[in-house]
């Protein structure tokens, strides 16, 4: 428990020192998407009885919860390869699980902050969806999945350059294809089947359903729970693999 607190506290102190910068970086992308896709392009579009902005805001929250959760990979990577802070963790009597959970909680803190940022931006654009418990559950499960994946991949990669490649090839395509900007249901069957494998597709579906007032479906939550558990196990395993 103490080791978990140590890892989490360290990340919180760093977040506190970088808070303004962090907040600005969480704001830029969703603001640009809202302006370009939501306002300029989709102002007159309708999606199943809702404005495109109402459709887009929950999608952006899903996307941001993924990218912000995954963004801890960059910090773990820098701490590992440039500042060697990970060595301090390795030398401590900390269980692998406590380290991973500490980092995941750091990721989830960013996820919640980023969701609040997008909710605030949506409010400025006149979008007032329903943010109920199922909305938050989906945000947190999605954040958990990608934070845990971030820990695992940050410990598996052998260099900083590899980390950037992973972000380019895994996260960026998912951000655009996982139901953030358009309904996956509009795509051909083969593409839908492919995209249904992605946790983000399910997160966007669950987050959007609650935000737009629809009843929750069990499948997205089951998929997100399973992906969270799988990524957690992978992350715990990689802590040992990070030894050279």
């Amino acid at each position: 428990m103490n080791a978990f607190l140590a890892v989490y506290l360290r990340e919180l102190l760093i977040l506190k020192r970088r808070f303004k910068r962090q907040l600005a970086s969480m704001t830029v992308s969703p603001l640009l998407y809202l302006l370009t896709f939501g306002y300029a392009l989709g102002r007159h579009l309708e999606m199943g009885g809702h404005s495109y902005l109402e459709f887009l805001v929950p999608g952006l929250i899903a996307m941001n919860s993924m990218t912000q959760g995954f963004s801890i990979a960059q910090d773990i990577n820098v701490a590992r390869f440039y500042f060697f802070v990970f060595e301090e963790i390795q030398a401590a009597p900390a269980s692998r699980l406590s380290y991973v959970l500490g980092e995941i909680c750091a990721g989830l803190t960013r996820v919640v902050l980023s969701a609040l940022v997008v909710m605030g931006l949506g409010w400025l654009f006149g979008v007032r969806p329903h943010y109920g418990p199922f909305f938050w559950l989906a945000v947190l499960l999605n954040g958990f999945t990608f934070s845990a994946l971030a820990v695992a991949l940050a410990l598996l990669v052998r260099s900083h350059a590899d980390q950037s490649l992973l972000t380019n090839f895994v996260i960026t395509p998912m951000a655009f294809l996982g139901g953030t900007f358009f309904p996956v249901e509009n795509l051909p069957d083969w593409a839908r089947t492919l995209l249904d494998v992605l946790p983000l597709t399910h997160a966007a579906r669950a987050i959007r359903a609650d935000a737009l007032g629809y009843a929750p479906e069990w499948l997205p939550f089951a998929v997100l729970t399973a992906s969270s558990a799988a990524c957690l196990m992978l992350a715990v395993w990689t802590v040992e693999k990070a030894k050279d």
Partner: protein, 279 residues
């Protein structure tokens, strides 16, 4: 306190450690002396959970590293070669995080942090961000942090590398004080004077193997007490003598330019390996 049996570490075809065995008694100050790449840091990394050994056995404080890694880590403090401090956190925050990692309670963390900052003469820098500290202060903080949880065994991996001579001597004083307080010290160095000044016992490591070990006087005695270095086109040729008189006579009888000096650990290392520590 430390017992290593046939430690092997391979990286592909390369052997970083090639069947290394040694023991260090509780309360001893032990130095690993060897050139860069000899395997010194690999041993420290294995014993502190950063590197996995390929084969062999390591017992620390009676605990088997492979079976009880967390029990071993509780006994050990490490000031690694890399300055692995959090630059964006303050001195106090770095100590706080370390104390939490090692399961210390809040009051103990605070009191011990203050005590150790005083010990390393850094009390006035407690709230400074670590990135603003000089190299010497960072090294001192690394040692304070490694001692925070009251380890019985302190690993110091090249503790004074890159520091100027005055700061190096100041750190030596600190390390001797730690040793006098009853902590077993295991240090690696490629500085001859550092090993001579700090260690009760020295082990020479070369290409992942232990080539010799003993107290500094024991290791040097085999060669003699005095050395004459002769400089020629091939480099430095050194001859050893039991007395200063013999050495002086050698210098005056053979008309060449040379220097007379005391035998040091580097001579002993050179005699064993054919290489200088700094090579």
């Amino acid at each position: 306190m430390i017992q290593l049996e046939n430690l092997v570490k391979r990286y592909g075809q390369n052997k970083a450690l090639d069947g290394l065995s040694l023991s260090v008694a509780a309360g001893e100050s032990f130095a690993f002396l060897g050139p860069n790449g000899a395997g010194k840091t690999t041993v420290i990394r294995i014993l502190n959970g950063m590197t996995a050994m390929t084969s062999g056995r390591a017992l620390i404080g009676g605990h088997d590293l492979a079976k009880e890694p967390l029990a071993v880590k509780k006994l050990c403090g490490l000031a690694a070669q890399n300055l692995n401090l959090d630059g964006e956190l303050s001195v106090r925050e770095n100590l706080e995080i370390h104390g939490l990692l090692f399961g210390m309670n809040g009051t103990d963390r605070q009191e011990r942090s203050q005590e150790l900052l005083k010990y390393v003469d850094m009390s006035e820098r407690a709230d400074s961000l670590v990135k603003t500290l000089s190299g010497g202060l960072k090294r001192r903080l690394m040692i304070a942090r490694a001692l925070l949880h009251r380890p019985r065994l302190l690993f110091l991996d090249e503790p004074t590398v890159g520091l100027d001579p005055a700061i190096r001597r100041r750190l030596w004083g600190l390390i001797r004080k730690i040793r006098q307080d009853g902590v077993t010290v295991f240090l690696t160095t490629h500085y001859i004077e550092e090993a001579e000044f700090l260690a009760d016992r020295v082990a020479f490591i070369h290409r992942g193997r232990l080539v010799n070990q003993g107290t500094p006087p024991e290791l040097m005695a085999a060669l003699g007490a005095w050395a004459v270095d002769r400089f020629n086109d091939a480099g430095i040729e050194t001859r050893y003598f039991q007395t200063r008189e013999e050495a002086r006579n050698h210098l005056s009888e053979n008309e060449f330019e040379g220097t007379l000096r005391r035998v040091n650990l580097e001579d002993a290392f050179l005699a064993q390996t054919g290489k200088r520590v700094a090579e």
